[in-house]
Point group: C2
Chain length 467, copies 2
């Protein structure tokens, strides 16, 4: 493909993306394909190249029908993954430049724009000063996902708890970690990867609102200490995946400080809500956290992947993740004048992801995200009122933000069947979870394209199908 | 940003990328900025959005001067990270669609196109049948980087070696891993992350060509067994970062089979060379490997991030990385009819990266990559002849592919100074390493834009500066 072809094809694809977004509401939300159906439309073996026109035809013929459309206004499944126009353009530029941000020297602007964006976002979210790059011991980095942020925090905590000895002696057998059963699966996965098996992960009881009970945490820590174990890491979630429950970060943090545990706060979904000053209550206690993560790629429209990971203890992070072979040594890094973000993450290589934040903040700013978040909260309240007024349904959890967990009183099988029937219509999509001992339909209002009318239609669909 | 603005800005940025590539040769290869210089051009605090035109001005004013330009024809540093026009367009589409590939159900086409592309690439690279998706126990997945591929293989091996018990009991203290001192830093980092500290990582001696000595590996394994330890993982590198040395995969693999170790083959840089059938000797012994990784984002022009990770033992991989909470359960997955790639990698979320391979293979095919690889090998041979003819220089390692490690006979300080002086010119960029006890200038010929004239100019620059 030469430059002239790239120009022509690129312009067509820009237009194609607009068409996709303008037509997405007419597509099914959930892909209506059977396993293997998409693959069967692709040749089994790579043939000779057949050109861009053929490719574009297949993009519509093969790919689009196989998509579950996360940008659809009827997407109420999992959590949102909004992709905004400014961030799409930034991904284009990042790919076009093709530079590496593994170290400062590998392309200084990648690092310096990222550091600045992390500071801008800390300010816009009202995060503690201890996470800023100018702080004595903290700072921030873009991770690819909350999973990676969590793993990174576990590794830093593991390093600190063992005085660094784990880097040599492999001994993680005394370390114990804490979270509720409502914490995200990436918590257990990250712990497992770091060599902390399920025998050493305590499921801390939660209260009726699915929030961690600090008293239960304190008891569990005491029991483990009595057994000769080493409590080292606790995860508090601000907005669980199941129900957007908010753990009491301040109370958990006070225990963590007293007991010498690393406190990680996972606010992957809900943290971005603090772009709205009236929602800053979600940040209460964060100054007690050793690390924190939230995802602009969910509710802010900064195209996946973009997780903001902050720590107040970068020395432990660097201790856990720095490896310096000869071929990565640079004069700039040896003086300590620069940041080498490879030492803040699991992989070595890194894309220029900070452009996504920079493009979004320079063009749209935070206004559209704030307005969207406020709409989604208001609509969730309206929805809750409708649900409460229909006696076939019940609401299973508090709903302070944009997720309503509901169920049919007729029982779990009826709720599961309702989700499947609704998703099969292609006009809305919900996911299922289990809250306590009940199957729940998660009605997550987070897509940028969703409207109040769309929420009302989706609710009417559920009402109709419940008959 | 509305659709009309996105269209206008998108078209301009497509053109901007073409301009960047057409002008990159006139920019310095290595960014000529001081630490903090780029950040100082950005406001300390986020202000009100000032619009796309202002942003575009700053892209040229702030970002470009702060880039080390990996697409520059004079880029001979580290390894290449070529970004090709088809892959850039695929990144644009991936960002535009904004779909998630964490599970089959989350967007079936993301998974099925990826599986098909992994099979196509296995065929194009001449990899063993045991890595194909149709094989009894293997398969492939796109990882973000070789670092992540390596970590994934370590986790699968750790699971298999402990019969899965590590997932519960945290005990990694008897496991021992093996690699030469020439293996990439991500090996040690991945092992450390997985709870295998440096006390349990054996640096296997290499021969005069910097390739692993199988006899030394066998000895080290025997000594560890005698000490009651559990040898579990060995990494053979096909094309080390230092010198592109090739470990004897077949001999290492035979020992691994006999001793029950997991063999991971890290061919991050060199593996892609097997797109050329005459270079398939690099694949010798791969049928003995439990896992393998190579990076189309280096030498094939499939924009970072795109690592191909194959395993012959997907059961161990899934045992190591599967976590199934209620909110991720889907009917399609429970029947076993589909692949959920979240269980093949560390993070949960994943982008539609397979589009980059699909776009590249459908438009350019492998012809341009094959031609480039053959050119680079030929030019490396020519360069080696020039270097050999200049008695001030010497060649420090074999150079079967596209990397020449050279040094000044005047000594290490002179070689280090030569690299710094060359990079300061902005016309070429090299990186430094240590081979044996000698400082080496790595002359890596891998950028798509490099020409033979450019190689000759860079060599003349080194000759001039050596005076």
């Amino acid at each position: 493909m030469d430059a002239a072809e790239f120009r022509a094809h690129g312009h067509r694809l820009i237009d194609w993306i607009i068409d996709y977004h303008q037509q997405v509401a007419s597509l099914p939300v959930q892909a209506q394909v059977a396993p293997g159906e998409t693959a069967a439309k692709l040749p089994e073996h790579p043939g000779a190249p057949d050109g861009f026109d053929a490719l574009l035809v297949d993009l519509d013929r093969v790919v689009v029908p196989g998509l579950t459309n996360w940008q659809h206004p009827g997407f109420f499944a999992w959590f949102p993954a909004n992709t905004g126009y400014p961030a799409i353009l930034a991904e284009l530029v990042s790919a076009g430049l093709g530079v590496q941000g593994m170290s400062w020297a590998s392309s200084p602007a990648v690092t310096e724009v990222e550091t600045r964006m992390m500071d801008w976002m800390a300010e816009l979210l009202g995060l503690p000063d201890g996470f800023r790059s100018a702080s004595a011991s903290g700072g921030g980095v873009i991770q690819g996902s909350a999973s990676e942020a969590t793993l990174t925090s576990i590794l830093a905590a593991r390093y600190r708890a063992t005085g660094g000895s784990v880097n040599a002696d492999s001994d993680t057998t005394k370390l114990v970690a804490y979270a509720t059963g409502q914490a995200h699966s990436s918590i257990e996965k990250g712990l497992r990867i770091a060599g902390i098996g399920t025998d050493h992960v305590r499921v801390v009881p939660h209260d009726a609102n699915f929030a961690m009970r600090p008293d239960a945490l304190a008891e569990a820590i005491a029991a483990d200490r009595a057994a000769g174990l080493v409590p080292f890491w606790v995860c508090a979630t601000v907005g669980t995946t199941n129900s957007l429950a908010v753990d009491p970060v301040r109370a958990v943090g006070e225990i963590a400080r007293q007991e010498g545990l690393w406190l990680h706060v996972d606010a992957a979904m809900a943290g971005i809500a603090t772009l709205c000053p009236e929602l800053r209550w979600l940040n209460d206690g964060l100054e007690l956290a050793d690390s924190y993560g939230t995802n602009p790629h969910k509710w802010m429209g900064v195209t996946f992947d973009c997780n903001l990971f902050y720590t107040a203890d970068r020395a432990s992070l660097l201790g856990a993740l720095s490896i310096l072979p000869e071929y990565l040594r640079t004069a700039a890094a040896e003086t300590g004048a620069v940041i080498d973000y490879r030492d803040w993450q699991v992989p070595l290589g890194r894309r220029f992801r900070a452009l996504k934040l920079w493009f979004t903040l320079r063009t749209d700013g935070v206004g559209p995200a704030q307005a969207m978040i406020r709409d989604h909260l208001a609509w969730t309240s309206e929805l809750a009122a409708w649900v409460a007024a229909d006696e076939r349904f019940e609401i299973l959890a508090p709903h302070p933000l944009n997720l309503l967990c509901l169920a049919l009183r007729a029982g779990d099988d009826a709720t599961t069947a309702l989700i499947e029937r609704a998703n099969a219509t292609g006009t809305a999509m919900f996911t299922r979870t289990v809250l306590g001992d009940r199957v729940a339909l998660r009605f997550s209002i987070g897509a940028r394209s969703t409207t109040l009318d769309g929420v009302r239609s989706a609710w009417r669909l559920l009402q109709d199908l419940a008959n």
